[in-house]
Amino acid sequence: MDRYVCVSCGYLYDPAEGDPSASVPPGTSFDDLPDDWHCPMCYVGKAEFDPQ
């Protein structure tokens, strides 16, 4: 599964880690993240993410 990077702040979404702060379990691919999921560091939306 690809890791995705936030182009606004550089935060790296790693599917192996998930996003505990939004209750997203490890193993969740980027595509499977909810549409309204946002970057936990800078709050921008999925559109601002790019595959690493």
Partner: protein
């Protein structure tokens, strides 16, 4: 003599820590004028007058664990001490200083930790590469120093803070002489200073220094001074990749700042030690220490950090390279061969010979330039001509050549005295052409010894007592004899030797030389196989001697290619006349090959070859015709810029004869040309010596035009009185000012060094000067300048004063000194700044203020121009996503969450605000976030591209842009990180942060909203509440300067959209990086940087203690808070203003509030 392990052996076991600053430590001890015996600034005298001070400085470093102390002898050489009139005391002072250091070191020495003494040898004040002192005079000035240090018992000698490779060679020579005299010898350390330009003062970069110094048999090579460790890092990295086994690094404690007359070095012991630890772990440096501004605290921290580290082993294989002052050139080129330009040779080139006989130095330099432009990698220089003084001619030509030409030199002479003369003029590594056994070993030994002494490489010819070796076997026999003599008797290394198996013409018709090419190439191939590390050379043009020029060109070129295939590394050629094989018709190529291989089956190959060239035009090169077509005006301009004087008088005469007014020539051609030179220097495209060369052409031109302007002198635009201030002997900067300013039409009165203000005033009055220029290298000269200005003010003077000096900052001059003297004192970063000021003084300023608000940048510029790979919809510059303003938060009705309010309050280094206007670019750029820059701002997204393709795009298209823009930022000030920051006492009153004034009363109120959903956090919760101990908050504002905004606007108006996007994006990201930089500094100053996590995501995920909040961001969206922040910080001092709509101008600015609380994280208002 060593009871203890030698310093070199110690370094092979562990990291060796040298001490910190002597000069700045002495200043802290505040010796009195009597201590200097009236010789202000002569620190070395203190060893005799105040040994207690020197002893205590040494002890201070030894006490914190330094292994090595350096003697207080930095300026104790004959040149510098002569300026104080005490050159005769050189040896004595060095002896005393060494003995003193030795005694203190012995007091601290234990069997477990022996302590060592390093003899410090500074560079002196005269640069031999610029012709300011001869090699011999300089070496003689170092000799008593070396003797004294040795006699005083040093464990090693360090030739440090070097600015000029030739200076280093002179010092090494003196050291070796002292060793031979005394029978003692100690390890030799050499440490060069790389300025913020990336090179040594005279223009040598790290690679060039390595190539030039490694062959000299030194034990340790390193870097010291100029900058702090962060700016030194990339040079240390370079050294680590390509340098010898044992390396040294001694950075300053950052850059000096002048704070109310006190000199302050900013870098904390912790930061300093962390960087230097990195040099050890990552670059394999084994000798570390500190230079200016480093105290026992810094070194103590360093000792602690490097204890027990075993640095990575470094392989150290010295490559075969030669060098000029400006570049290193491998002797083995890929693709082969290395081309040695043959035309700067009185015997080989009629043109060069004619110019030599006419003493036309400029013309001779012109020939060299042509060879360089034609692609030569090295220049073979031979000036021997019967009836002339070869030594004198070599001296005159090479002195000029080293300053004006980038190529390394092959010294072509059979006279050892002439070779020695040439080697004493070259800081770079030369090739000596050549040695042979024609007269037995006598002359060979003398020249090989010179090669060893000066670290040169040598060409060996296959000639012995029986004559030139014609057959392959004979050539090998001679070459082997020479090889063994050089390697086993003289200690040269195989890669220092270049073997020439001799080339004879195959075109003479003489049957005995028909196989000459075959024999030569056979010997070459066999010798190379036996000794793979040696290099091989041929003077290939000889193979075609006797043929017509067109035929020669073909035969020589084909022979060259054949030889390269058989192992040839280097060729002496006329670089312009070599043809690549594909440019030679097959029929010519075939005939040439048959001739070279002596294939006689179809007849005489020579006759066949020659017949192909009947009737071919052999006229002059087209190049000669081309240069005559350039209009004389343009040619004169280019000659000044190129520093090319050949044919100057004729050109000027031609212009005047054609009706041009001499004064007009000066004002409309020469002066603008010098301005171009200034711009090229300022943008880093021209090296210092080349600037001087241009100035020389200027001077020559003006001088020549004088006779056409009978009586009336050239219009003098103004007069500048120049001086280095009292107590300072450094005059390089000042003299550059004189050269540049005087060659731009101004009169200059140069008063020299150590000048009292009284003398400056008198001279200004006598010459009716328009300005006084004061220069000084030393940090304390900045204080002297202040005193001078105070005196001038007392006398009621207000004429403009220009100040220059390495330790000056713009801020010190424009803030502190202007408040002393008034607005007419100006900071000059270099000679061209000085010139600009003189021009401004000449004409009153007429410029209008910079463009104001950048609202145009936020409007949609429309789709009319889309030539760039940015489609019309993307022309709106990306609004920084971080400025997205969320809904406002809740108020006092919401309950505060539980936050530990008892966290200890850090002690800030000061209260109130500070302006930082000299933030090092490198440190900021090191914090650039490439993801957000490349993908966010610049929009280079990977999307669905395969990973490799995207990586290639980044490497080929994107990184070069970044490199160029950061270069321009550094060199042109295109981006100039600046900041205002401060620490304030504060308390929390509910959700409002109350900043307190000195009296403890409330001064500024910053109300922060609460999260609407639990936990109902507000930024104020991270601070101690009212009623108990007060807390500390830091506030800051950073910017990258107005220039970037102006330039972005300009690019946009020119429809250069890609450039516009790039610069805008970089400016935004650099502002962010500057904010990161400053945040780190704050954490460091508050002592909470220990919690900083390392690694990729550390910065992004707040891998540090505390948090910084910028107004307008999720946790505090209300921009109104910018008002009180601006009132408090006064960021206008850094050029940041607040618009009516609370936007910052320039837009590339960031403000923030820093909380130290461990629980402080980013949050939104829920």
């Amino acid at each position: 003599m060593t009871r203890r392990m030698s310093l070199i052996d110690a370094a092979r076991e562990r990291v060796v820590v040298l001490d910190g600053a002597m000069g700045t430590s002495i200043q802290v001890a505040r010796p009195s004028p009597d201590d200097f015996e009236g010789k202000d600034g002569c620190n070395e005298l203190l060893v005799v007058t105040r040994p207690d001070i020197v002893r205590s400085i040494h002890a201070g470093f030894l006490r914190v664990g330094c292994d090595v102390v350096e003697t207080n002898t930095f300026g104790a050489n004959g040149v510098v001490l002569a300026e104080y009139g005490i050159a005769d005391r050189t040896e004595q002072l060095n002896h005393r200083a060494a003995a003193l250091a030795r005694a203190v070191a012995s007091d601290f020495s234990t069997p477990a930790q022996p302590r060592y003494v390093l003899g410090s040898v500074g560079p002196g004040t005269k640069l031999p590469s610029l012709g300011q002192i001869s090699f011999d005079a300089l070496s003689n000035a170092f000799l008593p120093q070396m003797r004294g240090l040795l006699a005083g018992g040093v464990d090693a000698i360090c030739i440090e803070t070097c600015q000029d490779l030739l200076q280093i060679k002179a010092a090494l020579d003196a050291a070796r002489t002292a060793f031979a005299e005394s029978g003692l010898s100690v390890p030799l350390f050499v440490s060069v200073t790389i300025e913020s330009t990336g090179t040594m003062l005279v223009g040598s970069d790290v690679q060039t220094a390595v190539a030039s110094l490694w062959p000299l048999g030194i034990d340790v090579l390193g870097l010291n001074c100029a900058t702090g460790p962060s700016a030194m890092k990339r040079h240390v990295g370079q050294l680590g990749r390509t340098g010898p086994e044992l390396l040294m690094a001694m950075p300053n404690a950052g850059l000096p700042e002048n704070v109310n007359g006190e000199v302050v070095y900013r870098l904390s012991p912790d930061e300093f030690a962390r960087w230097v630890e990195g040099f050890v772990r990552e670059d394999g440096v084994r000798f570390v220490g500190g230079c200016c501004g480093t105290t026992p605290a810094h070194l103590g921290e360093l000792v602690r950090r490097v204890a027990g580290i075993i640095p990575p082993r470094r392989s150290a294989k010295r490559p075969g390279e030669v060098s000029s002052l400006f570049q290193a050139v491998p002797l083995r080129q890929v693709p082969a061969p290395l081309l040695i330009g043959e035309r700067t040779n009185a015997n080989g080139s009629k043109e060069f010979r004619d110019r030599l006989l006419a003493d036309d130095l400029d013309g001779m330099i012109g020939v060299a330039r042509e060879q360089e432009q034609g692609g030569a990698h090295l220049l073979d220089v031979s000036v021997a001509y019967v009836g002339r003084d070869e030594a004198r001619d070599m001296d005159r030509f090479v002195s000029r050549l080293v300053q004006t030409n980038r190529l390394p030199i092959s010294v072509d002479s059979t006279d050892p005295a002439v070779i020695e003369k040439a080697l004493k003029l070259c800081g770079g590594r030369c090739l000596i052409n050549s040695i042979n056994l024609e007269d037995g070993v006598g002359r060979l030994d003398r020249i090989a010894a010179l090669a060893k002494r000066f670290g040169a490489a040598v060409v060996a010819l296959a000639i012995d007592e029986k004559g030139m070796a014609m057959t392959s076997d004979r050539k090998l026999e001679v070459a082997e004899r020479i090889f063994h003599r050089c390697v086993n008797v003289h200690g040269l290394a195989p890669q220092d030797l270049v073997f020439d198996m001799l080339t004879f013409t195959v075109a003479s018709g003489d049957p005995s030389t028909r196989k000459a090419a075959i024999e030569t190439l056979d010997a070459l191939e066999r010798f190379k196989r036996r000794h793979p590390e040696v290099h091989t050379l041929l003077g290939v043009s000889n193979v075609s001697f006797g043929l017509k020029p067109a035929a020669r060109r073909v035969l020589t070129s084909v022979f060259l290619h054949m030889a390269v295939d058989r192992g040839l590394d280097q060729a002496i050629v006329n670089a312009r006349s070599i043809l690549p094989l594909y440019r030679i018709e097959p029929i010519y190529r075939g005939a040439a090959l048959r001739l070279l291989n002596d294939e006689r089956d179809t007849g005489d190959p020579l006759a066949e070859f020659m017949s192909l060239f009947e009737g071919i035009d052999n006229s002059r090169k087209a190049d000669d015709r081309a240069s005559a077509a350039i209009p004389p005006d343009r040619r004169l301009f280019r000659m000044v810029v190129d520093g090319d004087q050949s044919g100057l008088p004729e050109l000027l005469d031609q212009l005047v004869a054609g009706g041009r007014d001499p004064l007009g020539i000066i004002n409309t051609l020469l002066i603008p040309a010098m301005k171009e030179v200034g711009d090229l220097f300022g943008s880093g495209q021209m090296q210092l010596p080349f600037v001087l060369q241009s100035a020389q052409v200027m001077k020559g031109a003006v001088g020549h035009l004088q006779k056409f302007m009978e009586g009336s002198s050239a219009h003098q635009r103004g007069t500048l009185v120049l001086a280095t201030v009292k107590g300072d002997v450094h005059d390089i900067g000042k003299n550059l000012v004189e050269i540049i300013v005087s060659n731009n039409g101004f009169g200059v009165v140069n008063l020299g060094t150590k000048v009292e203000v009284e003398e400056m005033i008198k001279a200004a009055q006598a010459h009716r000067a328009d300005a006084i220029g004061m220069s000084g290298l030393l940090v304390k000269s900045t204080v002297v300048m202040k005193e001078n200005l105070e005196e001038m003010k007392r006398r009621g003077l207000s004429l403009p004063v220009l100040l220059g000096g390495a330790a000056l900052t713009r801020n010190y001059v424009e803030e502190t000194l202007r408040s002393v003297y008034g607005p007419t004192v100006h900071y000059c970063q270099d000679a061209f700044d000085g010139l600009a000021e003189m021009v401004r003084i000449e004409k009153p300023p007429t410029g209008s203020p910079a463009p104001g608000s950048n609202s145009a940048l936020h409007a949609n510029p429309g789709p009319s121009h889309s030539a760039q790979p940015v489609d019309a919809g993307d022309l709106v510059p990306p609004r920084s996503p971080r400025l997205s303003i969320r809904a406002s938060g809740g108020g006092d009705e919401l309950p505060a969450p539980e936050v530990d309010r008892a966290v200890p309050v850090p002690v800030p280094p000061f209260l109130g605000t500070k302006l930082l206007d000299d933030i090092p670019h490198d440190e900021v750029f090191a914090l650039l976030n490439e993801t957000t820059l490349f993908r966010g701002q610049w929009r280079y997204r990977r999307g669905s591209l395969p990973r490799e393709q995207y990586d290639q795009l980044i490497d080929n298209e994107v990184r070069p842009v970044l490199a160029e823009l950061t270069r321009r930022a550094r060199e042109e000030g295109l981006l100039r990180p600046q900041a205002v920051y401060g620490y304030f006492r504060c308390v929390a009153r509910g959700r409002t942060l109350v900043l307190l004034d000195e009296g403890g009363g409330p001064s500024i109120l910053l109300p922060f909203p609460r999260r609407r959903t639990a936990p109902h956090l507000s930024i104020a919760d991270f601070f101690r509440p009212e009623g108990g101990q007060t807390d500390i908050v830091a506030l800051f504002a950073v910017t990258v300067g107005a220039r970037s905004a102006e330039e972005v606007q300009r690019l946009y108006k020119l429809n250069r959209y890609r450039d516009y996007l790039h610069l805008h994006g970089l400016a935004v990201e650099t502002a962010e990086a500057t904010a990161e930089w400053l945040h780190r500094r704050v954490r460091s100053e508050l002592g909470i940087a220990g919690d900083d996590r390392q690694g990729n995501q550390a910065m992004v995920r707040q891998g540090y203690r505390g948090s910084r909040y910028s107004f307008g961001y999720p946790a505090c969206p209300d921009l109104e808070l910018q008002r009180p922040l601006f009132a408090l910080l006064q960021p206008q001092r850094a050029g940041i203003h607040l618009s009516e709509t609370l936007q910052m101008v320039p837009e590339y600015s960031v403000t923030a509030l820093v909380a130290h609380h461990p629980g402080a994280r980013y949050f939104d208002l829920g």
